[in-house]
Structures are given as C-alpha cells and as structure tokens.
C-alpha cells in the first residue's frame, strides 16, 4: 500500500494503547451542564433563554452572533439556573448553566431533515449552520463558513482528516471504526454543499483497522478515496495533510481554498450526518480521556457542558495525584488550571499527567544542533525566531517568518536543550500581530 506524507515532522511516542481498543461508551448525563456561549472561533452567541426557563435537549439557547459564529444548544433537558461568567479553557466565558430534570426530553425542533440525496447543497449548509457545527478536531472554526468559499474560488477537493496524529487521542479512530458509513455520509454531504466530485479520507497507518473499515465503507463510492498516511506528527496539520493527499502546496499566509481544497475533521463529518438524519444539533461529542494516571481511560460520548471532574469519576479516578490536565492532545493542547471546566465542541481529548510528566525541564543553552530546523514542517528556523523573541527584538524575529508557524510544537519537542522554542515564537507572533494592527 502506498503511504503518503509531508517533509519534516517528528515521531513522538503514540501512547494510543490506553484507549485505541476501547469501544465508545456513553458518559453519564451531567446533573448540571455548563454550556459556554462561545465554543468556536468568531463572535460569541447571545443567550436566547432566561434564568428559570425550561429547556429541552437540542433546543437552541444561544443565537449566533454573526456570520462567523455558531449557535449553541442545550445538551440536556431541565431548568436554566444561571447565565454568568464561568471558567473556560481560554479564561472566563459567558455560560448557560442548566440543571437537569433527568428526563432528557428532546426538543420539538429536532426532526429528521431529509436525506443527502434529496436535500440541496444550500439546504445542507443551512442545517450545518443551525446545528452549530464547528471544526471538531479542536480548531472549532464554524463549518458553514468553511463551506462558503467566495465565488471566485473554485473548490474541487474535500479532505476528511482522520490522521489523528496527536499522541493519546483516539476519538476519531473509534468513530471511524464504529461509524464508518455515517462518516462517509457526512463527507458526501460536505461534497454536495461544495459541489465537488473528489473526496479523500486521510488516515495514518498506525490505524490499520480503521483504514480497512473505511476502505470497505467507500467501496461503492467512485469519488471517495482512502489515503494512507505515514504515522508522523503533524500529519493532521491542514497544509501538511493537503500536501500529503493532493501534492498541492497552500501558499504561505493563504487558506486551503486557495488550492481548491477544504479540509474537515472526522468528528465534524459524523456530526453533519447526524444533524441531517436525526436533526440533533451538536450537543454531544466523542472525547478521549487518557493518561497513565487515569484508572480506566475511556473514549466517551460526552454531553457538551459536562465537567471534567465528573468524567474523571467515571474513569475510576486517579492512581496518583494529578499534576497537569491538558485539553486536547499533548502536542497542541492547552494545560488548564482546574478540573471544573466543561467539555465543549472542540474537546477531542482530556489528558491527565502526574507532576513528573507534567513538568517541563529547565532550558539550557541552544547548542545549534539544528534539530528544530531539520524537522520544522513549514521549514522555519525556530532557533533564530526564538533567540530574537527572547531579547524582545521582534523586528529581527519577524525576518525569520514567525507568522508562518503552525504552532505544532515539534521544535520544542525535539530540542535537546529543552528551550521554550514554540512559546517564544508565540510571543513573537503576538507582538507582531499587535504591531500590525496599530
């Protein structure tokens, strides 16, 4: 089987054995769901319910705050208790707290919307928009916006990202294994919206079972091909994935649509299928709960708004004290300061490290070993950006093109001196962006 890839990248330990073999399970419904009104990139939602209102599963509780935005819905049935600022991954965020009545009553608006065959592309797009679907790999960019390219851009290819190149995470892997047909159906819906005839599903070759199942699922689909990808990080980074699947290079600073491609995540495709078939908006997702200190790591169907600590309980708790909690994968995920955070639309995983695993070693001198240059998937020279960033010389830092950095963290990973390469590059990016806005 031919294996496709990109240039550069690293091979971190995969650590998917904790959960790769575990079938999806339903998490217990939360007694209280804390649903942030902003779970996406773009404008926050406006609450359309009031404290004391009764809400049902799938009922819209937040209206999109603009075109680049996505509505949010209640994941349980019950009473709105509070609409206030609550801790989120990126600081406090206005959230709707709903107390469950335990009935899980489904809202009247949740009805089968039709079938992909009969619905028009625009109708499907409207369903996606109303269902609050966003990029579920973690980026959380509103999907309907991604599916609305400006008329002058010709899109001819859709890629489903099943690389799942982050260590530990197995959410997409399990979705492909257990719901291959739904995933393919979601892809077909996306292809219909964009009116394209070429679809790829890229899967890393560390998931041979998923490759096999998906290959079977597309057997009768002439326009959809499974692309076997080399297991390498960051294989699932958008531009690297496009390079691997199509050989097209997205220009620096441009979006994938520049080369006629739109990329979506496996979870997103599955959700699109569900929202068309059952009418249920995005109120639930698969989240991998993993890490060496978790008694029983799991792949769970989690209602949006469920707090992490409740899920930890369902995973049997910890075998030793937790030192770090990461929302997302270990390479790009965000370390958070509390376990009282809700699962949101972008929560592909929650990882638990002990103090030792969570501690970043002290940096030493850069020895110019060039490992960071050799592996950078966008061919930057992280050592120089970092060196200038650390002495606040952002003019010089900018010459080394930090804005092209995809923040995959490969440079920090390989650095033998444990230098804060990505961290200092992020600072440079922030400074340069701030300056350009002035």
């Amino acid at each position: 089987m031919k294996v496709f890839s990109f240039k550069g990248g690293i091979h971190p330990p995969e650590r998917k054995d904790y959960t790769a073999h575990l079938a999806l399970e339903k998490a217990k419904d939360p007694d209280f769901a804390t649903i942030p009104l902003q779970q996406h990139i773009g404008a926050p939602c406006e609450a359309i319910v009031n404290v004391g209102d009764l809400v049902k599963v799938g009922q819209k509780i937040g209206e999109a705050g603009g075109f680049v935005s996505a509505p949010v819905h209640s994941s349980i049935s019950g009473t709105v208790k509070e609409i206030s600022m609550k801790p989120g991954v990126n600081g406090e965020v206005l959230s709707v707290v709903i107390e469950s009545d335990g009935k899980n009553e489904v809202h009247e608006s949740v009805q089968k919307k039709g079938s992909i065959e009969t619905l028009s592309g625009d109708e499907i797009k409207e369903i996606i928009k109303e269902a609050g679907i966003v990029g579920m790999g973690g980026a959380t960019f509103p999907t309907h916006v991604k599916l609305s390219p400006p008329p002058e851009k010709t899109i001819d290819t859709v890629i489903l990202n099943g690389a799942e190149c982050e260590p530990y995470l197995t959410a997409d892997h399990r979705l492909m294994l257990e719901h291959p047909n739904e995933t393919v159906s979601g892809l077909k819906a996306i292809m219909k919206v964009l009116d394209v005839t070429t679809g790829y599903i890229g899967i890393e070759n560390n998931k041979p079972d998923a490759i096999e199942v998906m290959q079977k699922a597309v057997e009768s689909e002439e326009n959809i091909q499974i692309v076997v990808l080399q297991t390498k990080y960051p294989q699932g980074a958008e531009k690297q994935l496009i390079d691997a699947c199509t050989g097209r290079i997205v220009p620096s600073g441009a979006l994938p649509m520049e080369v006629g491609v739109v990329v979506n995540n496996i979870g997103t495709a599955y959700q699109i299928h569900q929202s068309i078939e059952t009418g249920m908006p995005l109120v639930e997702r698969v989240t991998t709960l993993s890490g060496g200190i978790l008694k029983e790591p799991k792949n769970l169907w989690v209602k949006i708004g469920t707090q992490i600590n409740e899920l930890v309980e369902q995973c049997g708790g910890f075998t030793e004290p937790v030192g770090k909690i990461i929302m997302g994968g270990p390479m790009m995920g965000m370390a958070v300061s509390t376990d009282k955070l809700p699962i949101t639309k972008g929560s592909s995983g929650v990882l638990f490290f002990n103090r030792e695993e969570g501690t970043i070693p002290e940096p030493e001198n850069c020895i110019r070993c060039s490992a960071c240059v050799d592996i950078c998937p966008v061919y930057l020279q992280p050592l120089y950006i970092s060196a200038y960033s650390l002495i606040d010389n952002f003019d010089m830092a900018e010459k080394y093109r930090p804005m092209d950095c995809i923040e995959c963290g490969s440079c920090s990973y390989v650095c033998p001196s444990k230098r804060p390469l990505l961290q200092s590059i992020r600072i440079a990016k922030g400074e340069i962006q701030a300056r350009n806005r002035k």
């Binding site: 531009k239 220009p251 270990p330 370390a335 300061s337 001198n365 020895i367 240059v373 080394y400």
Partner: protein
C-alpha cells in the same frame, strides 16, 4: 485537587534527549581512537589525555564561577573538548602544553563567547591551531608509534608537493589501523570511521558533512594526481581528515544550521583542505580549513535559509 496544577505552554511532551546525552555519545564514539592512541603511543599519550580532560573541566568550572553562571561541566561538552584536544596533539608534547591549550579552548574560545553552543569556532581545533602557530617545533614533534619514540615525518609528507606516493610511505593497512606517526588521535582512519558510524546510528550527526567533505578532498586529489586512486586513498587516510571531517566539522555550535548550508560548509572545508595540502605551505590543511569555514557560518546560514512552506515569489510591484 490538593496541589495546584501545572500550567505551561504546549507542547507537553519532550523528546528524551539532552546536551549531556549527545556529548556522551561523542565521547563514546571517540573511545576506540583514544584507546588506539594509548596503545600506539603508550604512557605519554595517556598522561596527555588525562591532563587535557582535567584542565578543560577545571577551566570550565573556574570561568563559570567567575562569570557567576551555573557550572555546567555535567553536560559533557568540556569532556569532549578535552578528548579532542588531546587527540589533536603529538604524543611528545610537554604536559604544560595541553594545559595551555585547554585554557585557551574552554576559557577563551568557548566561555568568553557565552559557553556551550555559543562558540563560533571549534574550541579544540582553535586551540590546536593556536598551539601549532605558537609552538611550531613542539607541535610537530612527530614520532613513530612505540616506546622508542623515534622522530619521523608524518604520512602526508610523502605526498606533499608530489602527484604520486613516494618511496618509504606507510602502507594503507598501517594508515587504516593507525600504525603511523601523527597526532595521537588522527592516526587510525578505521577507528575514527567506526566512531563516526556510531554517531550516525545515534542520530548525533548525519553523513552529510563528513561525506561531502571527504568526497570533495577525494575528487580534488584524484584530479590533481591524474586519477591515481592510490594517491587519493593515501590522502583520505592520512592526517587529520577523518577526525576533522567526522568530529570537528560536525561541531554543532560552529557549523551552519540549514540543510543546504551544511553542504556548502563541508564543500568549503574540502576545497580549502585540498588547496592547502596540494598547493599551500603546510602538509596538512584540515584545521585551518575548518576554522576558516567556521567564521563563514553566519554568512552561509543567512544565504541558505530554507524556503518557507508555501512561499511564493514576490511579484514585482
């Protein structure tokens, strides 16, 4: 949740590497050649090695104390410099010479510029050249291997100013195993190559720099001698080419970081070495070549920056 959680910037995984691991790998790679140097040149070689390593470590401690920075001798870089310096000296030098060399290498070339990774020249090599220029007679006190320490010429003098190997030159076998005169560690091409293979296997170096360097010298000597393969082989196996190409032209701090830059760097080293050996006043040119190319590194890095992913040529406005 008794303890506070650690919050740090991603990534949250780090590869299990360190400066120390890399330096110890280099030290391990040098062990075969080091043992050979003691075998061939006996007790004086062992003394020089010991003195050289100890003075490098002590210099590092003293200078770092003066600079009021954390002492980092545990990272192994001073150990490697000590080994390399000793292997670059003839076995006949007085024992104060490695001390002087160590102080120069660690104190001036390395620590004065900021310590490990900040030196723009290879410290051991810079010290060798400093000593060669300052104490020319002592630094060329070549002897044949063995206890008797009979003065002799180095193998390279048998090809200097000739286009063919002269009578009396050592055999290829002797050159390979190191049964020839020369600096302590540059005698056995074979053992140096074995160490190099270990470094490549351990991902400490790639074959790129040594490969291009040696190949360039090979082509140059081949052309110069009118395609005399024996003449070329003699050049490759003699002098400091192997130790220079494998262990000193690959020094991270003083070589380019860009993939293309490393090729140009090695090419430059090869051309300069061949030029000095074939046309210059010295029989050997490896040390000068690498140091000269070391000074070119910032320039090379600047002009060989890799093309950023998706970079498009700026349209003429």
């Amino acid at each position: 949740m008794s303890d506070r959680l650690i919050v740090s910037s991603s990534p949250h995984l780090r590869e299990d590497t360190s400066i120390q691991k890399i330096m110890f790998d280099v030290a391990i790679a040098l062990i075969p050649a080091t043992i050979a140097s003691i075998y061939f040149f006996k007790a004086p070689a062992a003394m020089i090695l010991l003195i050289s390593i100890i003075s490098c470590l002590v210099t590092e401690i003293v200078v770092q104390k003066i600079r009021r920075v954390p002492v980092t001798i545990h990272d192994g870089s001073a150990l490697v410099t000590g080994m390399l310096l000793a292997l670059n000296l003839p076995a006949t030098v007085p024992l104060w010479l490695p001390v002087l060399g160590s102080v120069f290498a660690i104190g001036i070339v390395k620590q004065l510029f900021g310590g490990v990774g900040q030196n723009f020249m290879n410290p051991a090599l810079a010290a060798r050249i400093m000593l060669t220029i300052s104490y020319a007679d002592r630094m060329t006190g070549w002897v044949e291997p063995g206890v008797d320490a009979v003065s002799t010429a180095t193998p390279l003098t048998y090809v200097k100013d000739f286009t063919a190997i002269q009578q009396g030159a050592p055999s290829f076998v002797d050159l390979l195993i190191g049964n020839v005169s020369g600096s302590m560690g540059e005698t056995s091409a074979l053992l140096l190559i074995i160490g190099g293979i270990y470094l490549v296997y351990r991902n400490v170096i790639t074959v790129k720099i040594p490969g291009v360097y040696i190949l360039t010298v090979a082509i140059a000597t081949l052309l110069y001698s009118g395609f005399d393969i024996q003449y070329m082989t003699f050049h490759l196996l003699s002098g400091s080419l192997m130790i220079g190409a494998i262990y000193m032209a690959t020094d991270y701090a003083s070589t380019p970081v860009t993939p293309r830059g490393r090729i140009y760097f090695a090419l430059g080293c090869g051309i300069l070495t061949a030029t000095i050996r074939l046309f210059g006043g010295y029989a050997e040119g490896v040390g000068f070549s690498i140091l000269l190319m070391n000074t070119m590194v910032p320039l090379i890095d600047r002009y060989t920056a890799p093309k950023v992913f998706g970079e498009v040529k700026k349209q003429n406005a």
